[in-house]
């Protein structure tokens, strides 16, 4: 059996080599199918790899609460807002919170503009509480974080990300310089550690102000909408904590039973989950595409194998005269079909990986391509399966040939 299989493999190689171009064109369907899926998977998996690593960095024990306005409400101009009352309620009535901070975003672009000498730069400006550093785990690499007195006295001080220092061409690290935030001047008391990119967006392009200072900059004429970021004591009791948080907020905001939440509670885990579910969908779609192209590729292989059987009728007659049984002939043509499609699968694998790596290289900020082992095994296994399924008909046809007829075939 092994002897037959090895010999069939050798003659399959010979047969495939004898029609090099034809064999290549035959397997093109499989090559393209596998290449496409491997390229997509390598990019998606690379992305997922990096993003998961970064979400881990965000902390599994942090929770973000933000206001949420359903579209229909937004159309009527009614926007939900979270305010300091909500913050107080959460702070005092939800147990298991180790740190909590409000985060105040600039409501429009005005305070998003920062400047130094003649340089201007648009960036994200956040007003944060003193616990921000404990909630997010972001440390200043130089200087210090806001003190209580900075907060209480609404001092015009700020921490900047390294990207901002670079854009504004601050001398040195920028520590101690005065930069313009909106229309006001703030002294840089700290530079945040570099965190790199997430989804191709810099995480170092931001300016932090004390919460109270931010309020002052925005002015009192506006109603504020804050975000609440907090860290829980015990990650294992995360669900309990978020559930309590919801109840407290609903009560605080006077929502009646049956009324939808006008806020959203997000955890890092949820982010990871929703991101991964998107990736899984993409992977599933890619798998569907490869399924179709493998089907088409398999039909191509069946077609060419049928032609090949007809062409080699005489050869089959000779082999039968030499003592080949139907099983021997069947095995030989089946091995040829499988070899053809597996070779196609391997070429597709190489091309797909190349395309994935190239895409990852060319797109700025894109994580390196990553092909998981299961994708390799699956695509090669699938190719082999296609070879068997679509090779069986031509192989059976070859095996059933009558030796006398076959020997007479011109």
């Amino acid at each position: 059996m092994i002897a037959i299989a090895l010999d069939s493999l050798r003659s399959a190689f010979d047969a495939i080599r004898a029609h090099g171009l034809r064999s290549f064109l035959t397997t093109l369907g499989i090559i393209i199918g596998v290449a496409a899926v491997i390229a997509v998977i390598s990019i998606v998996q690379g992305l997922s790899h990096t993003v998961n690593a970064q979400f881990q960095g965000l902390g599994a024990d942090t929770v973000t609460v933000r206001s949420y306005t359903p579209f229909a409400q937004a159309m009527r101009g009614r926007f939900a807002r979270l305010d300091e009352g909500d913050l107080r309620a959460v702070r005092h009535r939800v147990e298991g919170i180790s740190h909590i901070t409000p985060v105040l975003f600039s409501p429009d672009g005005r305070t998003g503009q920062v400047g130094y000498r003649s340089r201007n730069h648009f960036t994200q400006v956040l007003g944060v509480g003193p616990a921000y550093i404990d909630v997010t785990g972001v440390m200043p690499q130089e200087g210090r974080f806001f003190s209580r007195s900075d907060e209480e006295r609404r001092r015009m001080v700020c921490l900047i990300g390294t990207e901002v220092a670079e854009q504004l061409e601050l001398p040195g690290s920028g520590l101690g310089e005065f930069i313009r935030v909106g229309d006001d001047w703030c002294r840089v008391i700290g530079v945040l550690e570099t965190r790199g990119e997430l989804f191709g967006m810099s995480q170092d392009d931001l300016v932090l102000l004390p919460y109270s200072t931010m309020q002052r900059l925005i002015g009192t004429s506006r109603r504020l909408d804050i975000q609440i970021q907090l860290r829980v004591d015990d990650v294992d009791r995360m669900d309990e904590a978020t559930e309590r948080l919801r109840r407290v907020l609903r009560q605080q905001r006077g929502l009646r039973p049956g009324q939808a939440d006008d806020f959203r509670v997000q955890t890092a885990e949820q982010l990871t989950e929703s991101f991964n579910s998107i990736l899984n969908t993409v992977t599933a779609v890619a798998a569907g595409i490869v399924g179709i192209s493998l089907l088409v590729g398999g039909i191509g292989i069946m077609n060419i194998m049928l032609v090949s059987v007809t062409e080699r009728t005489r050869e089959i007659g000779i082999l039968k005269a030499l003592g080949a049984t139907r099983g021997d002939i069947l095995l030989q043509f089946l091995i040829e079909a499988v070899l053809l499609s597996v070779l196609g699968g391997l070429i597709g694998l190489a091309i797909g990986y190349g395309v994935g790596a190239l895409a990852a290289m060319l797109l700025p900020g894109f994580p390196p391509a990553h092909v998981p082992m299961w994708a390799i095994v699956l695509s090669v296994g699938f190719s082999a399966g296609v070879g068997i399924v679509f090779g069986i008909l031509p192989a059976a046809k070859a095996a059933q040939l009558d030796p006398i007829e076959a020997l007479r075939y011109e």
């Binding site: 000779i318 030499l322 003592g323 049984t325 021997d328 006398i404 020997l407």
Partner: protein, 244 residues
């Protein structure tokens, strides 16, 4: 026995081939063609036989039955003491592999395989390990004088050399009979002499040979001539016996 005693000729009196009442009928539309209409024939060990006859005489049908490529419609066929008439496909394949060495008019070598691999091919179906296959095939090729051309492809060989490869392939399994169908039909006269010389050598070494031919010179070369006509044996003449 009229055949001259050759070197290595077996004294075994039981025939290698014994046909009794062999019939082969084909249905062509609603007509039945009697290709073989009752053939009785014994061929002994180390005989050197020519089968002749006009086209349509049943030569090819007899050849197919003898070679176990086809099953007779009726009658018994004992090859090497075993009844092969009632065998199934797989058993017939095994008999073809072990007991019969085919040589064809158009050589019928595998075009993409070297001379050596062509000769090794029948041994694949005996499940022999590759080293053993290679050794046996090498010896067979040396025996037909092609020891130096083993790695050539068929299209790199002359007609005579190709037929030698085919002879080596037929011999490699040490078959009971060598069955040659017009072995010199595609060869020029010089090469024909060469190949017939090779057959003579093999016969002298004890091989049983059956040649199907329409060339009188080839038939005369053999020691026994069987002429078919309309599916029956018209005459069966050994060398030295007068022509009918």
């Amino acid at each position: 026995m009229a055949a001259p005693a050759a070197v290595g000729a077996a004294a075994d009196p039981t025939p290698v081939i014994a046909l009794r009442g062999i019939r082969r009928e084909y249905r062509m539309g609603d007509q039945t063609v009697h290709a073989l209409a009752g053939v009785d024939l014994d061929i002994g060990r180390n005989e050197y036989v020519a089968v002749i006859g006009a086209s349509g005489s049943g030569k090819s049908s007899l050849m197919n039955v003898l070679g176990c490529l086809d099953r007779p419609s009726a009658g018994t066929y004992c090859l090497n003491g075993r009844d092969v008439a009632g065998m199934n496909e797989a058993e017939l394949a095994r008999v073809r592999n072990r007991d019969i060495g085919f040589i064809f008019q158009s050589f019928n070598l595998l075009p993409r395989a070297s001379a050596l691999h062509n000769v090794m091919q029948p041994l694949v179906y005996r499940r022999l390990p590759i080293a053993r296959r290679r050794a046996l095939a090498t010896r067979a090729l040396e025996r037909v004088g092609l020891g130096s051309r083993m790695d050539h492809l068929p299209n790199q060989l002359s007609g005579g050399q190709r037929q030698r490869v085919a002879v080596a392939r037929a011999l490699v399994g040490e078959p009971a009979i060598l069955l040659a169908d017009e072995p010199t039909g595609n060869l020029d006269s010089a090469t024909t002499v060469e190949i017939m010389g090779l057959f003579d050598q093999l016969h002298a070494a004890g091989q049983t040979i059956i040649i199907v031919t329409h060339e009188p010179e080839i038939a005369e070369h053999c020691h026994r001539v069987i002429r078919l006509r309309d599916g029956t044996v018209e005459y069966d003449r050994r060398r030295g016996e007068p022509a009918p």
